[in-house]
């Protein structure tokens, strides 16, 4: 005993006292599903690529993005961004401008020439893709990355499908489309243009393909019976928009009437204005609220001088271009009913934009294949009733947007890959949704959305220059940093800071944290103060 007066024990550390034994509830880290990811038809991990973009590492952000979607520059222009509609930040101030950051990343990749990671080792399997639209390109990209040999056969003269022959240049400049298509072909995807596949089984047998993905799209304009004089000029929207890609632009005249209420109707009317029409009038049988077209597109069209006649149907078209239009009224159920009141409209041409049908002739005689309501029936694995034959995009039941088509391509590719390996693709279970009430918004400061600059209206209605401009680096970074990182740890150190018991172990940059259950008393402060809802309290097994 060589201790000071009245001291009998060595000095000890409180670490001997394992206060973790007090716990009845334990905090656990988890990833929740951010609403943007949950809403993305292409299954992008948006929160993850924004995380990289926030740090200014745009190439990593782009690589995380293209793991799911090979067409970010196109998406950043034509996607209707359901992610932004779902964004939790909308409940705080305004949704994060995800679409504009996506476009910034896509454009940066094209400018800097970033290439995809090389494909996996060859599997020896061959897959035929019919149609080089968004769905076919997406499937080809994913299949090629998985190591399969892929050949696309496209009936049109150029790749892109509706992205080239349906979406006007002022929304999607062709060099952007060409750049993103080329990058997919550079992976070693074979593309044959200008040949229509007429018999899918014969085509597969001839090319010794192990599986096929059909994505021929919907290119036949729907007609409506409108009695018309023999000299009346009546066209369909698909032909007009397709004609814009050729040498001879469609002759629409000075006064153009477009019949329909979808985005295609707006595209045609806006195209007509750019071709020099002094009047471009959309006739739609219901009201603006009922219009299937997106509101911002209606707004842009109105700014450009497009006129819209609501609650009207076209009864007939006389030789000299006089349209008889009947006024409609909405009944209790919201359906338009005729009123018996008529008026006349003068038009040099009438363009029908009433939707599109699919040319399914290549499927004639395929056993087991079912066609319902003019589209091919596929299972949850995107496979038709004929083994090895998959289909996606506009030719299967869907919302018919570019993003949905890209999502079909990815999903089909995963199932085709599994099918070729004689297994089944089982997607991992989805995380629980990171709803707004899981966030602690105290920690997010206010910052309003960065609005993308718009081209002057005068230039918009006379040229095909792109209407919506991109963000530059400083405001793209600002926009990315507005992300709340819902449900996914962004290493803000809050848990590490607020624990009264030092029971959170910080593992270092990119490594997140661990909980030291020897000392965690289970108070739950870390859960309460986590800004993004990435910690959960669960009962201890007692």
């Amino acid at each position: 005993m060589n201790k000071p007066f009245a001291i009998t024990l060595e000095v000890g550390s409180s670490l001997a006292n394992k206060t973790g034994s007090w716990r009845t509830m334990r905090p656990e880290y988890l990833d929740r599903l951010p609403p943007c990811n949950a809403a993305c038809p292409a299954g992008e991990n948006i929160q993850s690529w924004l995380y990289h973009a926030e740090g200014g590492d745009y190439e990593s952000a782009w690589r995380a993005l293209v793991a799911d979607n090979p067409l970010p520059a196109i998406m950043g222009r034509v996607c209707y961004h359901p992610c932004e509609t779902a964004c939790n930040r909308a409940l705080h101030d305004a949704a994060v401008g995800i679409n504009s950051v996506e476009r910034f990343l896509g454009d940066a990749a094209l400018k800097k020439g970033w290439a995809f990671a090389p494909p996996a080792a060859g599997t020896g399997k061959r897959v035929l893709v019919v149609g080089a639209g968004p769905s076919g390109l997406s499937a080809a990209y994913h299949l090629r990355r998985l190591g399969h040999a892929v050949k696309i056969v496209e009936a049109g003269p150029l790749a892109g499908g509706m992205m080239r022959f349906g979406i006007p240049k002022y929304r999607l400049p062709r060099e952007v489309l060409d750049g993103e298509v080329r990058r997919i072909l550079d992976l070693g995807v074979e593309l044959e243009l200008g040949r229509k596949v007429t018999d899918i089984r014969a085509e597969m047998a001839a090319g010794r393909f192990d599986a096929a993905f059909l994505a021929v799209g919907a290119h036949i304009g729907k007609r409506a019976y409108i009695p018309a004089g023999s000299a009346a000029r009546m066209l369909d929207a698909v032909s007009v928009l397709r004609g814009m890609e050729g040498e001879d632009k469609p002759m629409l005249g000075r006064r153009v009437v477009v019949y329909g209420g979808g985005n295609t109707a707006l595209d045609v009317a806006r195209t007509a204005r750019r071709l020099g029409a002094s009047e471009a009038i959309i006739v739609y049988r219901r009201t603006r609220e009922k219009m299937p077209a997106h509101d911002f597109e209606v707004e842009e069209a109105l700014q450009e001088g497009v006129m819209i006649k609501w609650l009207s149907t076209i009864r007939n078209m006389a030789d000299e271009g006089t349209l008889t239009v009947e006024k409609m009224t909405l009944d209790d159920k919201g359906f338009p009913q005729p009123t018996g009141e008529f008026e006349t409209l003068e038009a040099d041409s009438l363009v029908l934009a009433l939707g599109q049908d699919v040319d399914l002739s290549l499927l004639d005689g395929v056993p087991g294949l079912e066609i319902r309501d003019g589209v091919a029936v596929v299972g949850p694995d995107m496979m038709t009733g004929f083994p090895g034959l998959f289909a996606g995009g506009d030719m299967v039941p869907s919302e018919r947007t570019v993003t949905v088509a890209v999502g079909h391509g990815k999903k089909a590719a995963r199932h085709i890959d599994a099918w070729l390996r004689d297994t089944r693709h089982a997607p991992p279970p989805k995380h629980e949704l990171a709803a707004f009430d899981k966030l602690n918004t105290w920690y997010y400061s206010d910052a309003s959305k960065t609005v993308r600059p718009m081209l002057d209206v005068a230039r918009r209605s006379s040229t095909f220059d792109e209407v919506v401009q991109g963000l530059d680096e400083s405001n793209a970074l600002f926009e990315a940093r507005r992300c709340l990182s819902c449900g996914n740890c962004f290493e803000c150190d809050n848990c590490y800071g607020v624990c009264p018991d030092n029971a959170i172990i910080k593992l270092g940059p990119g490594q997140r944290y661990e909980i030291n259950y020897d000392y965690c008393k289970g108070c739950g402060i870390c859960v309460e103060e986590c800004p993004c809802g990435a910690i959960n309290m669960v009962p201890e097994k007692i």
Binding site: L9, S14, Y444, D493, V498, P500, N502
Partner: protein, 333 residues
């Protein structure tokens, strides 16, 4: 936020750390190498605000002094839960003497260091509200008036929690404690009692006085860092919720501390030589009831007939907001 000039949007300016910030601008608590002055294994209750406040403050002081620091502790929860003989949670030179003499012991240590010419070693005294505003008040006032080179930290949880939640002179009006039961015409601690020690400290005209809270780490660290850059007597009064004594959910410790600030009941300010020099503005103003409702010690304020009492508490919050100018100019209405 006075102490962080770069504005971040994703992470806000309000989280403990920020991976996008330059290392030198991050908080002490975000640092993997922080001292952890008060280590794991201490016996504080779940969600203890005082344990958190003490680590925040002492870690910041350790960084500010290059780890040349001695801490004196008054009797109280902090002392009892951190050092049951022979264990200690303290990872710094630390001494405890009596309940009422922490300021005097610290003055003595400062004098001894001066005699030995060790002006690089700094002294902190710390205690709860009981040891500061009641029992140790004479020693504290003496330390102030002599302008001894000590930073005194008071962790205010508004009653004697260690001995069973008895009223102190820092207990707010209407709060139920073991000695101010929620009975009679004016249930809980009576109005018109108690004292405001930060204002009394200012009346000593010492170099630095500040209030801080566990709900605003960066503000707290900036104040401790500033205090350690000064010489002479300094005082920081830190608001630390006590789940046991206040009857609140341990998980809500920080939220409750935040609501105390946002309601105006606990104003955050700084003063130098007796003059108010800055205040931390309220970010999202809330009624006092939002703060009170989460604590069982105020449960009687939410029963029928207690409206007048509740209104009097709200009046205190309103007066603080006006007196200390707690609303940012653009949001003042």
């Amino acid at each position: 936020m006075i102490q962080q000039t770069i504005k971040f949007y994703q992470t806000g300016t309000f989280t403990v750390g920020n991976r996008l910030l330059d290392e030198s601008q991050r908080s002490v608590q975000a640092n993997m190498e922080r001292t952890n002055s008060l280590n794991s294994g201490h016996r504080a209750c779940q969600g203890c605000g005082e344990a958190l406040g003490a680590r925040y403050a002492i870690d910041a002081a350790m960084r500010a002094t290059g780890n040349r620091l001695i801490a004196v502790n008054a009797t109280g929860c902090l002392e009892v839960f951190s050092t049951p003989y022979p264990e200690s949670s303290w990872q710094i030179p630390w001494i405890h003497s009596l309940f009422g003499n922490a300021a005097a012991v610290a003055s003595g240590i400062a004098a001894a260091l001066r005699m030995r010419g060790q002006d690089d070693v700094r002294v902190i005294a710390q205690g709860g509200d009981g040891g500061t505003t009641d029992i140790g008040f004479g020693c504290l006032s003496g330390m102030f008036e002599r302008n001894d080179d000590v930073l005194y930290l008071c962790y205010d949880n508004e009653a004697y929690m260690n001995t069973g939640v008895q009223r102190s002179s820092a207990t707010p009006p209407t709060a139920r404690t073991a000695t101010t039961m929620a009975v009679g015409d004016e249930p809980g601690n009576p109005f018109g009692t108690g004292k405001n020690v930060p204002l009394i400290a200012m009346a000593h005209h010492i170099p630095y006085v500040a209030t801080a809270t566990v709900a605003n780490l960066r503000d707290l660290e900036a104040k401790v860092t500033k205090a350690m850059a000064l010489r002479g007597a300094r005082y920081i009064h830190i608001h630390v919720p006590c789940p046991l004594g206040w009857g609140s959910d341990p998980a809500l410790t920080i939220r409750i501390a935040r609501l105390a600030v946002e309601s105006g009941l606990f104003p955050l300010f700084e003063a130098a030589h007796g003059e108010l020099t800055s205040r931390t503005f309220i970010r999202r103003r809330v009624p006092a009831a939002e703060y009170l409702r989460l604590q069982k010690r105020f449960a009687h304020l939410f029963t029928a007939g207690a409206e007048a009492q509740l209104a009097r508490v709200q009046a205190i919050a309103d007066r603080n907001i006006e007196r200390f100018g707690l609303l940012a100019p653009e949001s003042a209405s």
